[in-house]
């Protein structure tokens, strides 16, 4: 285990003072204290991660009814996934991936362009645009859900009916105030000198954008990427009002249609739930550093 090695320098420094954390739990080192800590931390993990782990276990077990839902596996089986397939869960999963794929692509592109203007250009009306973006963030999606369904059924000027299409689920999430703001903050930090140097060397607008600004904003792209992914994946009301038939459902809104199965019981729900939770959890685990950073910049700067 590399853990003790990694902590050694810090531990030595902290020996002189126990002031790094509020409670100073690190320095409760008696056998009783250690036991209490293990139980406490174990309880936290079980309470918060336990139910999700039980989904993982249950999806591969025979779970005939809710009383069989537990952390302990009983009899490995893939029947749940077969039953889920018969209920069209893979179709729903495909729909979800289409929406999140194109939605995220658009969202990141739109955010990058918008924040390039807001962070690197001085123009009349910039403050007004900023105000508009903040207003959209104040405006809960739930408030506009019903009029949004009216707008989506007949998009003004374009006269398109987006109800029952992928675009109806993608376009409303394609612009997100949060990711524009986070990106803008990062782009502001790119030194003007770098941009000037590139311009002096003859770089045009596109070249400055593509070769100077964008590479320096890669960490921010990680942040808005992982946030955008979880945000789109978590959409519920929007697909609910856009989808007309079951074949258009995304996985989250389809979950309640697969609650139980005559043959395999609740297991089919757990299999579908596992498929619905894995993508966003995996995205979080892969981009955990960016996620934490985004949380901090999102909450602390506002």
């Amino acid at each position: 285990m590399s853990t003790p090695l990694m902590n050694r320098p810090r531990a030595r420094k902290a020996e002189t003072s126990d002031l790094h954390t509020v409670l100073g739990l690190r320095f409760w080192n008696g056998p009783l204290a250690v036991a209490v800590k293990i139980i406490l931390y174990g309880a936290i993990v079980v309470v918060f991660a336990g139910p999700l782990l039980a989904i993982l276990v249950g999806a591969f077990s025979k779970v005939s009814d809710p009383t069989k839902f537990s952390l302990l596996p009983h009899g490995f089986t893939l029947a749940n996934f077969h039953a889920a397939g018969n209920r069209g869960v893979y179709r729903y999963l495909f729909n979800s991936f289409v929406v999140v794929g194109f939605g995220l692509l658009l969202q990141v592109a739109v955010s990058i362009f918008a924040s390039y203007a807001l962070a690197r250009k001085r123009f009349r009306g910039a403050a007004l645009v900023m105000l508009a973006i903040l207003t959209t963030m104040m405006l809960p999606d739930e408030v506009i859900a019903i009029p949004l369904s009216v707008v989506l059924s007949d998009v003004p000027l374009a006269h398109l009916n987006l109800i029952g299409t992928y675009w109806g689920m993608i376009l409303p999430v394609a612009a997100w105030g949060f990711s524009i703001l986070v990106m803008t903050e990062f782009m502001r930090d790119v030194p003007v000198d770098l941009e000037d140097a590139a311009r002096v060397d003859g770089a045009g607008e596109l070249r400055v954008f593509w070769s100077v600004i964008l590479p320096l904003c890669r960490p921010a792209m990680g942040i808005i990427g992982v946030f955008g992914f979880t945000m789109i994946w978590d959409q519920y009301l929007l697909p609910l009002i856009v989808a007309r038939e079951p074949s258009q459902f995304t996985l989250p809104i389809a979950l309640r249609t697969v609650r139980a199965d005559d043959q395999v019981g609740v297991g089919v729900l757990l299999a579908a739930a596992l498929l619905a939770l894995l993508p966003s959890v995996v995205a979080f685990l892969l981009f955990q550093r960016q996620f934490t950073r985004g949380l901090e910049s999102g909450a602390l700067n506002r």
């Binding site: 853990t3 931390y41 989904i55 019903i146 519920y236 506002r302």
Partner: protein, 336 residues
Amino acid sequence: MATPTNYRSAEWQGNTVEVPRQRAHSHALEPARDDEWGAPARKRRRRRKKPQWLIAWLCLAPALVLFTYFKFLPMLQAARMSVYEVRPYLGDRYVGLGNYHDVTTNPYFTKAIWQTVLLAVGTTLGSILLGFVLALLTEGQARHLWLVRTAAFLPVVTTMAVVAEVWRVMYYPSRGGVLNTILGWVGVGPEPFLVSEHQALLSVILVGVWRGAPYDMMIFLAGLATVDRNLYESAAVDGASRFRRFYHVTLPALRPVGTILFTLAALRGLRSFTEVFLLTNGAPNGSTEVFMTLLYKLGLEQGQLGVAAAAAMVLFLATVAVTVSVNVWRRRVVRK
């Protein structure tokens, strides 16, 4: 440094006097020569001429169009619909504030408003308190603490639909249900949870706390990291006990973070939809009916778009009211 680069740097040095002026008017920097990438001088000059404001608006256009169509237009539409009786194919009929009157006097709505407030207050206070305790317990840089934090954070990134479904399973009201089994170990239950009029709302609140607390924990941890460690040290030097240090140094430093979390959580609570929709959908006997589930039923299931729009406007006003009052309160506290 007797290389070709020297030639370029000499040229640079010859220009240094002019640099400030060049920055102010970039076209002053326009010697008609090919640049380093070999782009012809003519092409470069044309690029320069594109005004900055045009580029800015071009870059902003996609975002602004999308916001206009899918945020501002629906908002205006909601405001308009809220004073009409919306009748598809028959034409809308102007009813003034009639829809608002319905929303505020209809017993279903008043009950739903009251329950929404309870839900919002419960989840907000519960998740902030629990999140704060979790943050204090898991503060530190050790690897096992990082693991605990990561595991505890998983509910936040799990989609709400899954959270609600798994809690439905755990709330199974018979003796064998997961939570009833656990309660059985300490000799309590079996409890009916979601199927009881008295426990359903509390059960929904518990789910909200379970999902909200780790989020608040993460933000509190970020806030704790910004607390000046020197203050701890000076407090310790002055002989302050651990409790006094916590009370006089840590708590004040966390107040801004706490205010933000309070606002965010309260707003989230007011518009909670998915968890209620999936856990109970208002049942049993309307005891968990909240604003959004009622609004959804009215607007999308019964087609009473006007009343639903009025309800949405009320919710929007409540959102604005919470935000504004928190900000006013915060400013007053700061001024004192």
